[in-house]
């Protein structure tokens, strides 16, 4: 009885005119399956935890495996929602993909914390041209060329081997695609972080939540964040120095001091407007109440008009 009352209250709070929600007194029931991007995994875990507190009748299965898997699975009808951490391509939209932006994070460049030139790297940062020279053209070969000294240590460039949003977004910073990125391909976000942590001369990239420790909110042990020299003046200015903690970086992503890309929106993708009441209710909850849990989980909230757009895609006002 108490439960029914609680559900009633929540339904009342969720607002009037929500067509898909069952009549008051009938608790929402159903199953939802989700798969895809690692970047969204911790966030969705939190959302599921909170959502099922309110709607205990809904069971949600969550699997990670890369943005590519998410979109392939959802378009093949194997899951209800695909998590996608890159822009959705036209070919995928043509196949019926409906992309709803749910939150935001970023990809950051990473270097080894015991890189002998770390002080120079922190002071001067990396110009976009140097990064293009490293990852795209291969014109930049040594750490000296990156930080503007005569150091001849070769840079060991890493990238991701699996089809993923992080690599796609990092490449988008250079106006390119994942397949254009050069470097040793390593599988998975944790794998890439690990490869960079082991080689002092290496450079790589990671999603924010794999580069920073969730507890200490500092970069994970052995990893240092590569500052971007956005205005190309050869030094990291104070407004460019945003990498100390995860919170600091998140604030910079939110107000645009960290560029986009490599900051990017994260999407839930469905195949057309979902017909299941549970899926609809979950999506709507994520776009409204679920947003309250975004900052504490290490992500950046979307502006209200973006969220409204998502609701409109679901056929709601």
């Amino acid at each position: 009885m108490k439960k029914t009352l609680a559900v009633l209250i929540v339904l009342g709070l969720a607002g009037a005119g929500l067509a898909a929600v069952p009549a008051p007194g009938q608790p929402l029931k159903g199953q939802i399956s989700i798969s895809g991007a690692w970047a969204l995994y911790p966030m969705v875990q939190k959302w599921i935890e909170e959502f099922t507190k309110v709607y205990p009748g809904v069971r949600i299965d969550l699997q990670a495996g890369g943005a590519g898997k998410g979109i392939a699975d959802v378009l093949a009808g194997m899951v209800d929602i695909g998590m996608v951490s890159r822009d959705v391509h036209q070919a995928e939209l043509d196949k019926g993909a409906l992309a709803i932006a749910v939150t935001k994070d970023a990809v950051v460049g990473t270097v080894n914390a015991s890189n002998p030139l770390l002080k120079d790297i922190r002071a001067r940062g990396a110009k976009k041209d140097s990064l293009i020279g490293l990852w795209i053209t291969g014109a930049v070969k040594t750490w000296g060329q990156v930080v503007g000294t005569s150091d001849r240590t070769e840079v060991q460039v890493f990238t991701r081997s699996d089809a993923c949003g992080a690599a796609e977004t990092w490449a988008a910073y250079f106006g390119k695609r994942q397949e254009d990125l050069q470097g040793i391909g390593v599988y998975g976000d944790p794998g890439l972080a690990d490869a960079v942590r082991r080689d002092p001369s290496s450079i790589g990239f990671n999603n924010v939540n794999f580069a920073y420790d969730a507890k200490t909110k500092k970069p994970i042990e052995g990893l240092a964040i590569l500052p971007l020299d956005q205005n190309g003046n050869g030094q990291v200015d104070s407004q460019e120095n945003v990498y100390g903690t995860r919170d600091e970086l998140c604030a910079a992503i939110a107000d645009g001091r960290y560029p986009s890309p490599p900051a990017r929106e994260l999407y839930f993708v469905t195949k057309g407007v979902p017909s299941s009441a549970a899926v609809k209710a979950f999506l709507r909850w994520v776009l409204t109440k679920g947003q309250a849990f975004v900052p504490e989980t290490g992500y950046i909230s979307l502006p209200p008009d973006k969220l409204k757009k998502g609701l409109a895609l679901l056929g709601e006002r």
Partner: protein, 302 residues
């Protein structure tokens, strides 16, 4: 009369059993044919716009520009497999010889289950172990030894991990072969004054030759198809490999890594299906070749 009826019924039963078992036997064979047909149908789209020779022998892999050259992946597969076999075959054969000819019974009986256990480990375990041990070993020890630089994510690392994965297969099968060789043969050899090693060389290895080939073929087949463990250490650069210390990109890794992009780029799914078909054909051709060698060796022995 009654007895005749029963025997007719029993004959019918026998007939039925024979026929149904025949059907069950051809099912696996049919499955292979079905897979080939299925993959062929799915790769028709790309074969319709590009000649097969261009797809197989071009090394340009740029799906976005519509270039699907599979050469880097085919050579990557061959390199990694070759390295694995060069390492695995001598070590496993000598281990099997030791276990069957020299080792005391207690050692043999302990070693067997351990070897079989190795065969049962999931391949991701080998992959993680490869990243932790083999990749640093290649970059910190082997590469400096040969005077080059390597990130460690290389053909060599992939080959070493693969070699360790095929050890148990080759050891297990060749051990079976060696133990099936009649003791009388060895005793005859000893009675002529041969040492143990001479007996191994002239009797055991010679008599078990075909079995050894079968063991190696099994190992190679496993090596060709192994995906996860290799993918995690091999570096995945879509270029024709130039050095053991450079990265490679075997076919199974290509398929596993890019499964997700299938929907977003035209012809990509078709290209991946073609890659699977190529892998299947390579394994088939290899098995058929090995079979021919085996039959020839058998004839010679007769």
């Amino acid at each position: 009369m009654n007895g005749g009826k029963i025997s007719a019924f029993r004959l019918l039963k026998d007939n039925l059993a024979r026929r149904s078992m025949f059907v069950l036997t051809i099912v696996p064979g049919l499955l292979v044919a079905l897979m080939v047909v299925g993959l062929l149908l799915r790769s028709k789209a790309i074969l319709a716009v590009k000649p097969l020779s261009r797809l197989l022998f071009s090394s340009a892999w740029h799906p976005l520009r519509g270039e699907f050259g599979l050469l880097p992946f085919i050579t990557g597969t061959l390199w990694v497999t070759a390295v694995a076999m060069v390492i695995a075959v001598p070590i496993s054969l000598l281990a099997a010889v030791y276990l069957s000819e020299y080792a005391p019974r207690a050692v043999r009986e302990t070693a067997r289950p351990i070897v079989d256990l190795l065969a049962g480990l999931p391949s991701v375990v080998y992959g993680v172990w490869g990243i932790l041990m083999v990749v640093p070993f290649v970059s910190d020890q082997l590469a400096p030894l040969f005077g080059t630089k390597s990130s460690g994510y290389s053909i060599l690392a992939g080959g070493i991990v693969l070699a360790i994965m095929v050890f148990p297969t080759i050891i297990h099968v060749s051990l079976e072969v060696f133990t099936s060789i009649p003791h009388a043969l060895r005793e005859a050899s000893f009675s002529l004054g041969a040492t143990r090693w001479e007996t191994v060389k002239h009797v055991v290895l010679r008599k078990g030759g075909q079995g050894i080939i079968a063991a190696v073929v099994l190992g190679v087949s496993r090596a060709f198809g192994e995906t996860m463990a290799v993918l995690m250490v091999v570096g995945n650069i879509p270029k024709v490999p130039k050095s053991l210390f450079g990265a490679g990109y075997p076919l199974p890794a290509l398929i596993a890594n890019n499964y997700g992009e299938m929907m977003s780029i035209p012809l990509y799914d078709s290209a991946l299906m073609l890659a699977s078909l190529v892998l299947l054909v390579v394994v088939l051709v290899f098995n058929v070749l090995a079979r021919i060698i085996l039959v020839r060796a058998e004839r010679k022995a007769e």
